[in-house]
């Protein structure tokens, strides 16, 4: 699983050297940003069900999509938010890349689910994050970066 620390260790190991000062500096950099990431992960874990249901009610309330897909879409949005929670913890996009994005479009198409609905739901979540009600400013910035990453991958 790729994270700031494992990337540094892999490259150090590839050249059989001990962690150098610059390796340690880059690990330290990821620790310095960790507080807001972990804050975002914690708040997302608390609000995950509410984010999912609110965004789905909004998207399927517009009557532009087949209501029969709503439950499947809710399950998937919840799944993606969980992967974003993992990404916030590791500090990289590893979990989303490996478990959420590889092969995703093919699977969604095969089930004839509308990717547009997913994008709308994720965009709704991104735009409706309540600062500071849901999470603080820096945490929300970390969260939104990952939402944007996922939206771009789906689009």
């Amino acid at each position: 699983m790729k994270s700031a620390v494992t990337t540094v260790i892999s490259s150090a190991d590839a050249s059989a050297r001990f962690p150098t000062l610059s390796d340690i500096e880059s690990v330290k950099g990821s620790f310095d940003r960790a507080a807001s990431r972990l804050e975002a992960a914690e708040k997302l874990a608390i609000h995950i069900d509410r984010f999912t249901s609110e965004s789905l009610d909004y998207v399927y309330g517009t009557q532009s999509y087949d209501q029969a897909n709503k439950d499947k879409c809710a399950r998937d949005i919840n799944h993606y938010l969980r992967l974003i929670n993992y990404c916030l913890v590791t500090g990289g996009t590893g979990p989303l890349d490996e478990w959420g994005i590889a092969g995703m479009r093919e699977v969604i198409r095969a089930h004839q689910l509308p990717t547009a609905a997913y994008i709308e739901a994720l965009t709704y979540i991104r735009d409706k994050v309540n600062i500071p009600g849901d999470m603080n400013q820096q945490a929300a910035a970390e969260f939104k970066t990952l939402l944007d990453y996922l939206i771009n991958a789906l689009a």
């Binding site: 699983m1 260790i9 190991d13 962690p19 938010l81 979990p95």
Partner: protein, 182 residues
């Protein structure tokens, strides 16, 4: 290879739940102790050759037959291989310590080590003794209970007494190697 963060992710994913407040508490502790972790890693990397050389010398002093003709550290080529292996084990311990997770040590160092040593005719009891001495030396340097230069004068985490927990984590990684060879 995992670190403390990705270990939490893999564990949570197997249950299909997001990482919540309880799991985050231990990760927050890991982040809060980051400076100690970094200093402890530096304590190894800055003293590698000292730790490895002392350990191998100690092993030989306790068993002088090793460097006599017919001994396992004779001729010097085999003694050099011994020193090299000491440094390799220290390197993987330093990776595991930085990551806060033993998976890199398990996958890339311990896995197959005993079989390799058996095939090469390396005496396991002596190898274990050298690793024990490395463990003692590393813990002493991290907690500043060593004689000679003190590690933490004027750098991040204050004093060696504060590094007791991280030193016992490092000791647990050496113990992993020892138990794998036993």
């Amino acid at each position: 290879m995992l670190d403390a963060f990705s270990r939490a992710v893999v564990t949570a994913d197997s249950k299909g739940t997001p990482i919540g407040t309880t799991e985050l508490a231990s990760l927050r502790r890991y982040v809060a102790d980051a400076n100690k972790r970094i200093d402890a890693t530096l304590a190894i990397t800055q003293n590698v050759s000292c730790i490895a050389a002392d350990a191998v010398s100690g092993m030989v002093c306790e068993n002088t037959g090793l460097t006599q003709p017919g001994g396992h550290c004779y001729p010097t080529r085999r003694m050099a291989a011994c020193l090299r292996d000491g440094e390799i084990i220290l390197r993987y311990v330093s990776y595991a310590l930085l990551a806060g997770d033993p998976s890199v040590l398990d996958d890339r160092c311990i896995n197959g080590l005993k079989e390799t040593y058996l095939a090469l005719g390396v005496p396991l009891a002596n190898a274990i003794r050298a690793i024990e001495i490395m463990k003692i030396a590393t813990v002493a340097i991290m907690t500043e209970t060593n004689t000679g230069r003190k590690m933490f004068e004027g750098i991040n985490s204050g004093s060696g007494a504060d590094c007791k927990d991280i030193a016992s984590e490092a000791a647990s990684y050496f113990d992993r190697v020892i138990s794998a060879l036993s």
